[in-house]
């Protein structure tokens, strides 16, 4: 009814500016989609995201729910036809009371801590240096980014070679700098050194990534802030601590989050370099999990372990993101 009224009004006042405005107002609200195909914008939106949602459900959500289900059973993937029994929480209690698993968790924590510490420290320092815009800084940025672009398989094999006690470049350089004979230590074969061997490789490979994020953070600080600080007689030291660091902190924290999640499930590099050995000194949680699932074929228990890991990472990440938001809002 009101619509009809409006139309009559428009036709009655012809050739005035108000009628032109009226026509324009009528013409604009019709969205492109509905005019062409008779599909509403909402339907169109659903059409676009449905494939993504289906994929997400099929390869992420469904397996997750399936794993939750399996974690309460005695299912074994190598004996799919064996009778399935509900075992309640016993998988969980076994995982949580298994000293090997706790050992693996500790090893993982050690890795995560040291890789993040080193990558953040070195990554931020490199970003800080590169941000000074010296001559050729673009070239050096590219050079620094190279390790990150390599495939982990290449990096792993490459470093295995570097770590060779007799012919490896790493041992040679260490011996050159310290005088220790090169074949007197084995980075990958020794209980003390092998965790550090992996930390070194991961740091070598992923520091550029942290640097890139930190660089974005540093570049986001406008020059005029530094100019104001300079006029306010803040020393370089003070500018760093009271401007550079606080303003880049959200970016640093983001890099830490990404690397933390990534390294919590570190698998490829460890497998390639040490396979978890010697003994179980570098057996991180993801390797234990894989052994549980595909060597011992205790699928139910492996699922329980996976769920525990998932909840732990998810919980930690959530707390961390809360902190990150707080820092950003400060």
């Amino acid at each position: 009814m009101p619509k009809f009224r409006k139309e009559t009004q428009v036709t009655s006042v012809t050739d005035t500016s108000s009628s032109i405005l009226g026509k324009a107002a009528q013409a604009t609200p019709a969205p492109l989609a509905s005019r062409i195909r008779g599909i509403s914008d909402r339907t169109m939106a659903w059409l676009f995201i449905t494939p993504a949602i289906v994929l997400l459900l099929a390869i992420n959500i469904f397996p997750l729910i399936w794993a939750v289900y399996l974690s309460f059973t005695n299912y074994r993937a190598n004996r799919p036809n064996a009778p399935l029994e509900n075992v309640g929480l016993s998988n969980y209690s076994r995982v949580l009371s298994d000293p090997n698993i706790w050992q693996a968790m500790q090893t993982t924590a050690h890795f995560v801590f040291w890789t993040i510490f080193l990558q953040t420290l070195i990554g931020f320092s490199l970003a800080y240096l590169i941000d000074r815009k010296f001559r050729g800084h673009a070239f050096w940025t590219t050079v620094i980014l190279v390790p990150m672009m390599l495939s982990p398989a290449v990096v792993g094999n490459f470093w295995r070679f570097l770590y060779q006690p007799q012919i490896g470049l790493f041992n040679y350089i260490v011996s050159f700098l310290t005088g220790i004979p090169p074949s007197s230590f084995e980075m990958l074969g020794s209980v003390q050194l092998s965790p550090w061997a992996i930390i070194i490789v991961d740091t070598w490979m992923w520091t550029p990534y942290v640097m890139l994020i930190c660089l974005a953070g540093l570049r986001s600080i406008p020059d005029y802030i530094y100019e104001a600080a300079e006029v306010d007689r803040a020393s370089l030291w003070r500018q760093f601590w009271s401007i550079t660091l606080p303003m880049a902190l959200p970016f640093i924290m983001l890099a830490v989050l990404f690397r933390g999640i990534e390294n919590f499930k570190m698998f490829d590099m460890v497998t390639l370099l040490t396979g978890g050995g010697p003994g179980s000194t570098t057996e991180v949680a993801s390797i234990t999990l894989k052994r549980e699932a595909f060597e011992s074929w205790r699928t139910g228990r492996a699922s329980a372990f996976a769920i525990i890991l998932f909840v732990a990472v998810f919980g930690l990440a959530n707390i961390y993101v809360k902190a990150l938001n707080k820092v950003k809002q400060r």
Binding site: A228, V231, D232, P246
Partner: protein
């Protein structure tokens, strides 16, 4: 506070000559206001004094010392930037305290607190001290920026359009306040503005910049009544000075070679009745006075008039010149 001397300062950015061969002496305790159109080099001049830009040539001395080799920190200037430049991650309080926390100053906590609160009250921001500086309106940010300069006792204050984004009332208040503070501290102040009322009221001397050159410098009175050329004349006066060809309103007194006559309100005499040579086009009522838009031949003029002057659009009036300003073909003043 100190005397600041600029001698033969030039600065180019690529092809652009932002400042060229500028000579300027700002006496100890003096307030000099720079006026000029956009791109005239006002900001660049301030940045050169602060040491944020290096001059291509020339000498800058602050308090008798050549500061060519000094970094901004060593020059001890306070700068209110055109674009505020607050520290976004700090509160208003911390922004104001930032310059005072410099280790070189060695101020006690109580002293800092006292000065921050004093200044916050001065610039009317004391109710927002705990706010984060990004959560302020443009005018509030500008007041914090002014406050951050005022907490210090530098050798010179450099202010780049510090009141530009405030509303008219607050601007008038802070203008007075700034002038009072400047007088009280005996502060040396170099102040950039587009607002001629600010320039007229705050300045001990006004410098007119155009295309990087200092065209004229003098007391506000001097600049207003004795402009050196049409450019300077056009910068001051409300409504703008009428620049009309010399033959439109002949008064028989123009020196030989005069091309343009500059006539402000006080140079125009309106007579009703008698022989009419002009016509009223339009009358703008401003309340306490009226703007008359007058046409003489093909030439349009604007002048102020008493609101009780009985004229309306279409009326014929007599218009005569009374001691106007005469300018030659090059735009320079003729005497």
């Amino acid at each position: 506070m100190a005397e600041v001397i600029l001698k033969g300062i030039s600065k180019s950015f690529g092809e652009t000559r932002a400042v060229s061969n500028l000579d300027l002496i700002i006496a100890d305790g003096e307030c000099v206001v720079l006026l000029g159109p956009t791109g005239a080099g006002k900001t660049t001049t301030l940045r050169l004094i602060a040491g944020l830009e290096r001059a291509d040539s020339g000498r800058i001395t602050i308090g008798g010392y050549d500061v060519a080799q000094e970094a901004p920190a060593g020059r001890d200037v306070a700068f209110v930037f055109q674009q505020y430049s607050l520290y976004p991650h700090l509160s208003v309080y911390e922004n104001l305290a930032f310059p005072l926390r410099s280790p070189a100053r060695r101020l006690g906590k109580d002293e800092i607190d006292r000065r921050v609160r004093d200044v916050a009250r001065m610039v009317r921001i004391d109710h927002k001290l705990e706010n984060r500086s990004t959560r302020l309106s443009g005018g509030e940010m500008q007041r914090v920026a002014i406050g951050r300069a005022l907490v210090r006792r530098p050798s010179i204050f450099l202010m780049d359009e510090p009141l530009s984004s405030l509303d008219a009332k607050l601007r008038a208040e802070l203008r007075l306040e700034l002038k009072r503070i400047q007088k009280e501290l005996g502060a040396t102040l170099l102040y950039v503005t587009h607002d001629q009322i600010e320039a007229m009221t705050m300045a001990d001397r006004i410098g007119i910049l155009a295309e990087g050159r200092l065209v004229q410098i003098g007391t506000p009175r001097d600049i207003y009544s004795n402009p050196a050329n049409t450019h300077v004349a056009a910068r001051l006066g409300q409504p703008h000075i009428n620049l009309i060809p010399v033959d439109v309103l002949p008064d028989g007194r123009a020196p030989a070679g005069t091309r343009t006559v500059g006539a402000r309100t006080e140079h125009l005499e309106i007579s009703l009745g008698g022989n009419a040579n002009a016509q009223i086009d339009w009358v703008e009522h401003l309340g306490d006075q009226n703007h008359l838009h007058i046409r003489v031949g093909d030439c349009k003029l604007i002048t102020l008039a008493n609101p009780y002057l009985p004229v309306k659009p279409g009326d014929k009036i007599g218009l005569a010149l009374k001691n106007p300003l005469y300018f030659g073909a090059d735009g320079n003043r003729m005497y």
